[in-house]
Symmetry: C2
Subunit: 197 residues, 2 copies
DNA sequence: GTCGAGCGAGCGAACACTCACTCACCATGC
DNA sequence: GCATGGTGAGTGAGTGTTCGCTCGCTCGAC
């Protein structure tokens, strides 16, 4: 079946199984059998909807992409400073939320494997570009309104996203306790430093 | 053979083969056959020195750890500000240096897989902790000498390392051109903001 | 009676790892 | 000088297992 004609409910169910299996086993040890075990289908049942394991992973990525985009869209904070802080709150995963941490670490693993897997590259690029754009828009808005100093919106966005992704990639993955709070404090201080006096 | 009694020359050769294979194929698609292809040994020859694939990867990690530690140690810049800039220069991999980028992306992939693989966790933890310590020491020194404002050394170190690791993990892995320069500029501006007026 | 949805069984390939063996090299005894 | 035997450093050819994926089939709804 072509991947884009999978019924939404089935896509959601399979994406969710991929998510659970990824969080539990990691990408390097992900197998279609493990995905099936997390779903209510058999291994063969998965292949009724998707032609390959990679397509199932892409379904998971697209679902995550939607979820993240919606989360960023639903921020109802007023003003650039508060909006930027809210974005950081979303991007820095709580180390005590094992499920969310597992998913974010899995996405980092997929990211690191992207150079060797074209299929994964495109949805991941879309997701990162989108987030980068959201942050840059907030910063640009802040600069125009005179809330932030005259910083480069793209550069600042790259800095913020690097910091939050990096936190997931090393501190969260290694279970380094306390680093999350350290990072939150430093990132908050960084946002302070963006404000006009 | 116990891993710690492998002759240094053999360890270096095998670690180098793992490095090349990881950069070429990524961790998820790394096989002992591919490692052997990058070395001058047969697949069985690798097992003469190491009891498992994971041990070979640990050998690579320990070699990288030494290399990074030595690079950080050899910085001969004077003063905390210059030292911190030099550390960032080392940690932000040049996107045009394909070999270095490949290795760093591979290490990120290993990091992301650490929650599911105890064997990898320890050497990775050591490496990140060490780097974190080096940065924190520089910042602490800078605060004591009155070069930097009264910032938290650990928090600042976590922020800097998150940013540089995160850059590798998303921008470098996805081949997002220009993000490296954006990040370098923003990180440099951040260091400016740490300085006392 | 047809058809979409799904599954049990199993295919060939690839995987991590092992084993019986080779071969160069050396120390020893004569 | 040279046969003898032991040893470290490998290797070609496998081992059993697991992988992604397929196929022939069933079964309920219309």
């Amino acid at each position: 079946m072509p991947a884009d004609s999978v019924p939404p409910e089935q896509k959601a169910q399979i994406a969710n199984a991929v998510r659970a299996a990824l969080a539990k086993h990691g990408y390097a040890r992900l197998t279609t059998k493990k995905v099936a075990a997390e779903s209510e289908k058999s291994e063969a049942g998965l292949y009724y909807y998707y032609d390959s394991k990679d397509e199932m992973i892409v379904a998971f990525l697209e679902t995550s992409e939607d979820y993240l985009a919606r989360s960023l869209d639903e921020i109802d904070a007023e003003g650039p400073e508060e909006r930027l802080r809210a974005v950081c709150d979303i991007l820095i995963v709580d180390e005590d939320d094992a499920a969310a941490a597992g998913v974010n670490i899995a996405v980092m693993e997929l990211l690191s494997h992207a150079p060797h897997n074209e299929t994964l590259r495109e949805p991941l690029l879309r997701m990162e570009r989108h987030t980068l754009g959201v942050i840059a828009d907030i910063v640009r808005d802040g600069v125009e309104r005179g809330v932030f100093r005259e910083v480069d919106p793209e550069g600042t966005a790259a800095f913020v996203l690097s910091a939050t992704d990096g936190y997931t990639g090393f501190a969260l993955a290694l279970g380094m306790e306390g680093v999350g709070d350290d990072l939150r404090a430093s990132l908050s201080a960084y946002i302070d430093s963006l404000l006009v006096e």
